[in-house]
């Protein structure tokens, strides 16, 4: 009966689907919303970059940008920094990915967990922890070195306030991107390709060299590009480590242009090279990974064969742990130590242990409550709104439910090309002047965080929607359900796991966001990451450690919750 009605009421059911089809208004609504989210800030950015103080057209901003050493040096620094980081990440992460995915090395799961942990650690927190560890004179590692070698007080093993120090710290929190891409690719390589090589007489290492490596190379290259991008657009770590060493990167330079007296037009011009480079690199990445399906052509294939390491099993594990010391074990140790130590960079003993810092942060510091509250509100609302947006867009585009779905897909993935600090500048320019004055409210931060998290959320949910075959929905609709009812009763339950996972993914990403937040916060809308950055500038390392540990606890609670959801193993990284 219902089926007859449906058909009777809507002659164009084939294209518009359902008695009351709201997909079309939803489509227009979402397209408009995404346009506002993305087009508005980017337009203001472009506009500001080509006008002078009086609003007259000029190319002078770019002229200054490419002639003044105060801008050229950071540009060059950033380039070398990103390139080195990309390279180091590959050198470190590729062998680790291989060991975990393709060999019988023990503890593979643990290694994967620890890599996930380094991925979710906010890079700026890692940078501060490394100040505690490797500041040339007060760093714990350097103190240890002097005690062991009896070296004079001036001598040091590491100097974290240096260009190499900065590269090291950024690599620590960037290599997981490469690791995951490589390990995923290796997991997917069918065993029979390698079997074929063995049958034809190839020895283990020949097979690895001639079959496995070429198959995983695209993923590695893509990883290198992602690492390059990450290093290029990161703000926190350079602000913490490069400024004391006396140099700027592009992100810190852009930020400094917003300090008093602010020069928004120069900041806008300086932001554009980052934007252009990001777009180019993402195109390159797309080209490399565009054909990534070829490795699994040929239908069902055998389990990947594990290479037997023999007596190298344990040294291999030791190697992995030696790497993981740097992003996780040492920094977390240093933060814990500083949280309960009277002097941040002195090893704590039972006699000197104190709860003063914890007490101070939670009972004396009057911004703690506000910042935690804002962070939680923003985390929850960004994750909720972002997930809803992503799931609807993923559905509309995957099912090709409306004409023009490609535009929607394009708009949803575009923000990936906008570095956080660039988006921050764009949003600042957009929402501090009429008609939309959102500066000073949590809305502007919400817009920033939703925009930043949308691409990754969309991509995760798109593959999840794809995995649900439309025949389930078709069956439901043949039995008389409207499109919405079919969605609610059939598709939604099947997507539940991925939706929850995406929600958590956005939540974790939001509470650690710094580079856009630092441009957009006001005193009433401070978040924990900004508070930590503030405290770092006045040298309150103990308070940072307490707040940082609290942040990590929240993060890991969420990550562990995700991992307990069946069918979802570990956080997925942006992976296109």
């Amino acid at each position: 009966m219902t089926a007859v009605e449906t058909t009777a009421l809507s002659p164009g059911a084939r294209t518009s689907g359902g008695g009351f089809d709201i997909t079309r208004p939803i489509f227009y609504g979402f397209a408009a919303l995404l346009c506002v989210l993305i087009v508005l800030p980017v337009s203001w950015l472009l506009y500001y970059s080509v006008v002078d103080r009086t609003g007259a057209f000029t190319l002078g901003n770019f002229g200054k940008l490419f002639s003044d050493p105060a801008f050229l040096d950071p540009l060059l620094t950033t380039f070398i920094l990103s390139f080195s980081t990309g390279l180091i990440c590959c050198v470190v992460a590729a062998p680790m990915g291989w060991l975990v995915a393709r060999t019988n090395m023990p503890g593979g799961m643990l290694v994967r967990y620890l890599v996930t942990a380094s991925f979710v650690t906010p890079p700026f927190l890692g940078a501060i922890a490394w100040e505690l560890l490797a500041a040339p004179n007060s760093g714990l590692l350097n103190k240890f070195y002097r005690v062991v070698t009896n070296a004079p007080p001036d001598e040091h093993l590491f100097n974290i306030y240096s260009f190499t120090g900065l590269i090291f710290v950024i690599a620590c929190y960037t290599f997981p991107y490469v690791f995951v891409l490589v390990a995923n690719a290796l997991d997917r390589i069918p065993g029979d390709l390698e079997d074929a090589s063995s049958i034809l007489g190839g020895r283990t290492w020949d097979t690895a060299r001639k079959v496995t490596v070429p198959l995983v190379l695209p993923a590695l290259l893509a990883g290198a590009l992602v690492a390059f991008l990450q290093a290029m657009t990161l703000f926190g770590s350079p602000a913490i480590l490069a400024l004391p060493a006396g140099f700027h990167t592009m992100t810190t330079k852009i930020w400094s242009l917003f300090q008093y007296p602010p020069k928004p037009e120069l900041a806008a011009a300086a932001a554009l090279p980052l934007l252009v480079l990001t777009v180019i690199l993402l195109r390159a990445e797309h080209m490399i990974l565009g054909r990534r399906g070829y490795a699994v052509l040929g239908g069902k294939s055998g389990e990947p064969r594990l290479i037997k390491l023999g007596r190298w099993r344990w040294p291999a594990l030791a190697l992995c742990f030696a790497v993981l010391l740097n992003p996780i074990i040492l920094p977390y140790g240093a933060l814990l130590n500083a949280a309960v130590s009277p002097v941040a960079s002195q090893p704590v003993t039972f006699a000197t242990m104190t709860l003063h810092n914890i007490e101070w942060v939670f009972f004396e510091l009057s911004t703690t409550r506000l910042a935690v509250w804002n962070t939680v509100i923003l985390g929850v609302s960004t994750a909720t709104i972002g997930t809803v947006l992503a799931v609807v867009i993923a559905y509309l585009t995957t099912r090709k439910a409306v004409r023009g779905y490609r535009i929607l897909a394009f708009l949803a993935t575009t923000p990936v090309a906008i570095p956080g600090i660039v988006l921050g500048v764009g949003l600042f320019l957009t929402y501090t002047q009429p008609p939309f004055v959102l500066y000073g409210t949590l809305w502007i931060l919400l817009i920033a965080f939703v925009t930043i998290s949308l691409p990754a959320a969309y991509q995760q949910l798109q593959s999840a929607v794809r995995a649900v075959h439309p025949e389930f929905e078709d069956a439901s609709r043949i039995l008389g359900a409207t499109r919405l009812r079919a969605l609610w009763q059939i598709t939604a339950p099947l997507l539940r796991t991925s939706v929850i996972a995406t929600w958590c993914f956005i939540f974790v990403g939001t509470i650690r966001e710094l580079s856009a937040a630092i441009m957009l916060f006001t005193s009433e809308t401070k978040v924990i990451s900004v508070l930590i950055f503030d405290l770092n500038e006045s040298g309150d390392l103990a308070a940072i450690s307490v707040l940082g540990i609290m942040m990590l606890v929240i993060t890991f609670a969420v990550v562990i919750a995700v991992n307990r959801i069946p069918g979802f193993g570990g956080m997925r990284l942006r992976n296109s």
Binding site: N137, S366, N374, V437, G440, L535, E537, S538
Partner: protein, 355 residues
């Protein structure tokens, strides 16, 4: 979520309130109004508002201590401290006011030049606490009653006494150019800190920019806040600090850390940190009560004893063991000149020190 929902209406509300206020406000160039005592009526009105927002650049733990002492004295009025470097405070207020956000009630800046600007722009309300009217010297209060010197201190050289012997320690700014200090000094930034902005003005005036050119070649560790170099000394991260808060050095030294101040033979930069109430303060009564409290002998003695600051309130006593203020050779402060040359100083500094 509630915050977000009401924020726009709040903006609207506060601009209405602002309009109401300006109607009754006295013209900018009026003489100082009659002093105001802390009356039960003022306390009751402040209680009704229940909170006060204090933007300050004083070192955070001290700022929170001042806030807690106010809350103890006037229960049910909470103080929220918004602390960052004075130059950031200045930019933040400018940005917030440009977007019609009236969040700040009372401000304290370590760059007295900021008060020249805020007064010129008509942002401050004339309000004279009783203590200021009765006890404060003329040169430490605004003629129109818009601000007064809440705190006074110095930017000093200092060293870590377990890394440097007293006889080897630098005695003057000139000593810091000795190659033996290369790579061993830490210094704060005038683009962030009002203390350092003021100090950089006085030093560039008295010692000349060539001094900074030479200093920049000493491989300085550049931090932001003037509260940070003392902390870096205490950690043992650097042996000597070029500039930074005398009051942090006192705090650290008196808690047993191995730090020692040096009063440079050329004179130590003198820093004045006034307090003022904003005309568009969202909590106008609590703001006034807090402003009055800040200048009481009680609060002034607190910032001396636990803070290590100096006070110009004649009823306060200096703490034993610290060098008396009158015995120290200081450079001369000049807020008007800092206001005039501030941007230029920042630009030149950035050029020399690269950040």
């Amino acid at each position: 979520m509630r915050d977000m929902k009401f924020s726009r209406r709040d903006v609207l509300k506060s601009s209405v309130a602002a309009a109401a206020f300006t109607t009754f406000a006295s013209p900018i160039r009026a003489a100082a109004p009659e002093p105001t005592a802390i009356t039960p009526a003022l306390i009751a009105a402040a209680r009704k508002e229940g909170k006060v927002v204090y933007y300050t650049s004083v070192d955070l733990p001290l700022a929170e201590k001042i806030a807690r002492s106010f809350e103890t004295k006037y229960p049910s009025i909470t103080v929220r401290v918004e602390r960052t470097g004075a130059e950031r405070v200045f930019q933040r207020i400018g940005q917030e006011y440009a977007s019609r956000i009236n969040a700040v009630d009372v401000v304290n800046s370590s760059d007295a030049a900021h008060f020249v600007v805020w007064k010129r722009d008509g942002l401050l309300v004339p309000y004279v606490p009783e203590d200021v009217a009765k006890h404060y010297p003329t040169e430490h209060k605004d003629a129109d009653g818009q601000f007064a010197s809440f705190r006074v201190w110095l930017s000093v050289i200092a060293y870590n006494s377990s890394l440097v012997k007293a006889e080897d320690a630098p005695k003057s700014f000139a000593d810091l150019l000795d190659p033996k200090w290369a790579g061993k000094m830490v210094k704060a930034h005038p683009g962030y800190s009002g203390t350092i902005m003021t100090a950089t003005y006085q030093m560039s005036r008295d010692l000349g920019w060539p001094y900074f050119e030479k200093l920049a070649r000493q491989r300085i560790m550049q931090v932001q806040s003037s509260a940070d170099p003392p902390k870096k000394l205490a950690l043992g991260e650097r042996a000597v600090m070029v500039d930074g808060n005398e009051y942090n050095i006192f705090q650290l030294k008196e808690s047993g850390q191995p730090v020692e101040p040096v009063y440079a033979s050329e004179g130590s930069p003198l820093i004045i940190g006034p307090n003022g109430v904003f005309k568009n303060a969202p909590n106008p009564n609590a703001a006034r009560l807090f402003q009055s409290y800040c200048f009481t002998p009680e609060c002034q003695q607190l910032i001396i004893d636990t803070g290590g600051l100096r006070s110009v309130h004649p009823q306060t006593k200096e703490k034993a063991g610290r060098k008396a203020f009158k015995d120290i050779k200081t450079m001369k402060d000049n807020a008007a000149e800092v206001e005039k040359h501030g941007d230029d100083i920042k630009a030149r500094y950035t050029q020399l020190f690269k950040v």
